[in-house]
């Protein structure tokens, strides 16, 4: 306790000395110093506010088992290593895409996030959506028809999410596993998805479905849904995470994360 009081006395002495020192400075200098400080602070804040650089976050989403983790590692390292299992946590990384390592010049790193597709972990997607600059929605082209309802519901939820609609986030529908011969074509998948989303539009009310509120409705009233009706751009591409044919995905990412 004595120590504490001694320290208090010392602190008081210091503060007195500081105040005396300040009072000794001639007024003009004092005012100049304060003005400089204020200007600096204002400048910093304004730079923060007006520096609206576009985010470089790209989300990899899709159902569990569609191949997102493999794609993530292909994009990052150029190989999928020893395979992947169901993810329990998101994979995040900020890096230059592997194929661009060869290029010279300043290439902007991409913040790639692989969000787990398991339905229990669906809430993680909500955290990343506001910051997304582009979304790659991975669809399993092999096991497409058995899961079509779940896939279309997931895509519907993403397309009607408030941040996605407001920021007009572009979406790439990536049909994965196209190296197998029984995989469906991207045209087939696109048509089927449009049909399913059309059905969903009818059955989902605009307010509170399950726990997810669909804030917006898709498409134009009275017309059959098509991806061209979305305010944000939706394109379709093919890829194969296993063999490494991911050019279309890379092009998409590069297009939307400008250097």
């Amino acid at each position: 306790m004595d120590n504490w009081e001694d320290m208090k006395i010392v602190a008081e002495q210091w503060s007195k000395q500081g105040i005396e020192f300040v009072q000794q400075i001639p007024p003009p200098q004092l005012y100049a110093a304060i003005a400089v400080l204020l200007l600096a602070t204002i400048w910093l804040f304004s730079v923060r506010l007006f520096r609206r650089t576009k985010s470089n976050t790209v989300l990899l989403s899709g159902l569990s088992g569609s191949g997102k983790t493999m794609l993530f590692y292909q994009l990052r390292d150029g190989s999928s290593h020893q395979g992947a299992v169901t993810s329990m946590e998101p994979n995040e990384g900020t890096f230059v895409l592997h194929y661009e390592n060869i290029k010279k010049g300043k290439v902007r790193p991409v913040h790639l996030v692989d969000v787990p597709g398991h339905s229990r972990l669906r809430s993680k997607l909500e955290e990343y959506l506001p910051r997304a600059a582009a979304i790659v929605f991975v669809v399993d082209a092999l096991e497409f028809l058995p899961n079509i309802r779940a896939v279309s519901e997931y895509l519907y939820d993403i397309l009607t999410n408030a941040s996605v609609v407001k920021n007009k986030v572009p979406v790439l529908l990536c049909c994965n596993k196209t190296d197998k011969i029984t995989a469906h074509t991207k045209e087939f998948i696109r048509k089927q998805m449009e049909k399913e989303i059309e059905k969903l539009r009818g059955s989902r009310s605009a307010v509170s479905t399950a726990d997810i509120t669909n804030d917006f409705t898709l498409g134009i009233e009275g017309e059959v849904f098509s991806f061209s009706h979305c305010h944000n751009k939706v394109t379709v591409a093919e890829a194969s995470g296993l063999t490494g044919e991911i050019d279309q995905v890379q092009a998409f990412i590069r297009e939307h994360v400008k250097p």
Binding site: S64, G65, T69, Y73, D77, H81, Q82, G83, A84, V85, T86, S87, M88, E89, P90, N91, D114, P116, H118, S119, R120, L121, R122, S123, R149, A150, E153, K199, L200, G202, S203, R204, S205, V207, S208, T209, A210, D211, T213
Partner: protein
């Protein structure tokens, strides 16, 4: 022998697999483990069993929570390998030294792993040897035969009795066969006369070695003092018991009469006291309720109070009051210090008090004790060894982890959009059948009417089927609801077979084009064998689209029993290969509990099916959806 040992990150990338054991795993045990166990917050369990066509595996796992790694070992279920836990922890230790987040391939770990495996197997062998030599060798070969039957395959026993036959150079196998020889030398019995040898569960005969046998079984049998032919006797007694039970069953069935509740003489008259008015009733007394009652609460936005989600740190640890004041001060100071530096690795002892307090809190919110226990174990498994981030206390880390786990459990695993399913069925031109099951008095009929009202509001044509043919007044109750809601009802009165009534109701619905058929059943206790059999018959015969378990929110620990027994009976008594289990839960009487919302958690955890509706009152509009975030907040308040 291990089938496979995998190391992967929590993000899903496989870092290392054992390349020595080249067997490809049948099915996808790892993915199933993650989906049905680790993500279901059952990571506190000891092991996980996986069945695929052609293989039966057991999986064991351990986490390295700091680095975010998972270590999984897969082996055949018929082997009871004791060294797996040991091996997993050693692998964890040595791998965490080698681990580097930038590296993706760890080929040099093969060598380390091989050594570790040899060590672990050798250690387990030592342990077994010591225990075997320590105990006096009593009892018989039969007893041993039984134990060995449990542990090994037939081929190895023959190796043992054959004496000097050694298989392919595996030193461990040689050791074990020598040991069994050593045992046999006392008795001189040949395992060949073992009458039970024939019905051995042999998977593979030839190559897999036998390793440490499950000692506990051996000791248990020894303590029972089974001697000589005792093993056979034991098996016989088991056989007798089962035949006795089977004999009792048909006798019981033959004497089953109608249930009589009082001791009074059973009335044989019909239990139908309604006015004789036909169904298309132009009965003036009953008002028609159109859509006048307003919107069902299902379609309204949930308005939940936005009170501060912040400091509940004050009432955080009620348990700490018991600690002596001095220790408390020291504990507080060191925890504050640790929280600032944030370097401490969480140990089980650190997590203990915080988890205990959390478990107590959950139990005061009416969560079943067993469920709270399992949840706490799972959270403990996921936090052990993790580094505390700076400026966080242990209790807040535990709280955050528990909150995460609760949200994960309560989030539905599949879509619970019933309207979508109804539309899908409509396209196929067949009615969507919903069966309401549950114990007595939970509110099945009331909530059936609420669901019918809600569906009507969404322009779906509904039909009710009165398959509660036991309780007096049940059919009248439904008839009244049907009249008020202006929907057709299919009934056949009392004392009829509910399964047949349901079948006819569905046929009627197909004929008159109803979209949904809501089937009301009688309440029954989960232990009542004949009633559960009748329910299972109803479900098997009619194959409904949705089996909805109606449970009340007031239930406490019994929720666990109810749901697990219902599911078990439905799966046991099912005739087809794919048993229909409970698909969804309807939670009733939610308005009567203020914040003791734990029943929702217990039910969802034990059955794995989502809560589709919540009944919160006694009028038609009192039906809403489960708000996961509000429930989690209330549970952890």
């Amino acid at each position: 022998m291990l089938e496979q040992l995998l190391i992967f990150t929590r993000g899903g990338l496989i870092l290392w697999t054992c390349k020595e054991i080249g067997n490809a795993l049948k099915g996808s045990p790892i993915d199933t483990l993650i989906r049905s166990c680790l993500l279901e917050e059952r990571s506190g369990a000891v092991s996980f069993n996986y069945d695929a066509p052609g293989a039966a595996y057991t999986l064991k796992w351990t986490f390295h929570n700091d680095l975010g790694l998972v270590f999984v070992a897969v082996y055949q279920r018929i082997l009871h390998l004791l060294y797996v836990d040991d091996l997993l922890s050693m692998v964890k230790q040595s791998f965490s030294e080698v681990y580097d987040p930038k590296r993706m391939a760890y080929d040099d770990f093969d060598e380390t792993f091989r050594q570790l495996r040899m060590e672990a197997e050798a250690r387990a062998e030592e342990l077994r040897k010591i225990k075997q030599l320590g105990k006096p060798v009593t009892g018989s070969v039969k007893k041993q035969g039984q134990v060995l039957k449990a542990g090994l395959e037939g081929g190895n026993k023959r190796v043992g009795e054959g004496g000097s036959k050694k298989d392919d150079g595996d030193g461990i196998k040689g050791k074990v066969s020598n040991l069994t020889n050593g045992h046999h030398s006392n008795e001189n019995h040949k395992l060949g006369d073992d009458s039970q040898e024939g019905d051995l569960a042999n998977g593979k005969e030839n190559t897999s070695s036998n390793v440490a046998v499950d000692l506990s079984k051996l000791q248990k049998l020894r303590s029972k003092g089974v001697r000589g032919r005792g093993g056979v006797r034991k098996a016989d007694s088991i056989g007798n018991k089962s035949s006795k039970v089977a004999a009792a069953e048909p006798a019981k069935k033959a004497t089953k009469k109608n249930r009589v509740w009082d001791d009074a003489a059973p009335k044989q008259s019909k239990l139908d006291f309604t006015d004789s008015v036909d169904e298309n009733g132009n009965n003036d007394h009953v008002e028609v309720v159109a859509a006048d009652q307003g919107e069902s609460m299902m379609d309204k936005e949930e308005v939940f109070s936005s009170d501060s989600e912040s400091d509940d740190d004050d009432d955080d640890e009620p348990g700490s009051d018991e600690k002596p004041a001095e220790a408390k001060k020291k504990g507080w100071f060191s925890s504050v210090f640790q929280s600032i530096t944030g370097k401490a690795n969480l140990e089980k002892t650190d997590l203990g008090p915080a988890l205990k307090a959390l478990k107590e809190r959950l139990m005061t919110k009416n969560v079943a004790e067993e469920i709270a226990e399992k949840l706490c174990e799972s959270v403990e498994a996921s936090l052990e060894g993790k580094k505390l981030s700076s400026f966080t206390r242990i209790s807040s880390t535990v709280q955050a982890a528990m909150e995460d786990a609760l949200v994960r459990i309560l989030t539905p695993r599949r879509s619970i959009d019933i309207l979508r399913d109804v539309h899908a069925s409509k396209e196929q031109r067949k009615p969507y059948v919903v069966v309401f099951v549950g114990v007595n008095g939970v509110g099945k009929s009331t909530n059936l009417a609420k669901v019918a009202y809600w569906l009507q509001q969404h322009k779906v044509s509904v039909m009710m089927a009165a398959c509660d043919t036991f309780r007096s007044g049940a059919v009248e109750q439904l008839r009244t609801h049907a009249r008020r809601l202006q929907i057709p009802i299919f009934e056949k009165g009392y004392e009829k077979d509910p399964a047949v009534v349901a079948k006819e109701a569905i046929q009627e619905a197909t004929r008159n084009g109803s979209d949904v058929v809501l089937v009301d059943t009688a309440g029954r206790m989960q232990d009542n064998e004949p009633l559960m059999r009748a329910l299972s018959k109803l479900i098997n015969l009619n194959q409904p689209d949705l089996v909805l378990f109606v449970g009340e929110a007031l239930v406490g620990n019994d929720a666990v029993d109810q749901l697990s027994k219902f599911n078990q009976k439905l799966s046991d008594l099912s005739t087809s290969g794919n048993p229909r289990l409970i698909d969804g839960i309807l939670l009733t009487k939610f308005d009567t509990i203020d914040d003791k919302v734990g029943a929702a958690l217990s039910m969802v955890y034990i059955s794995g099916s989502p809560v589709m509706f919540v009944g919160c009152g006694q009028s038609y509009t009192d039906l809403k959806k489960l708000n996961v975030k509000a429930i989690v907040k209330t549970l952890l308040k």
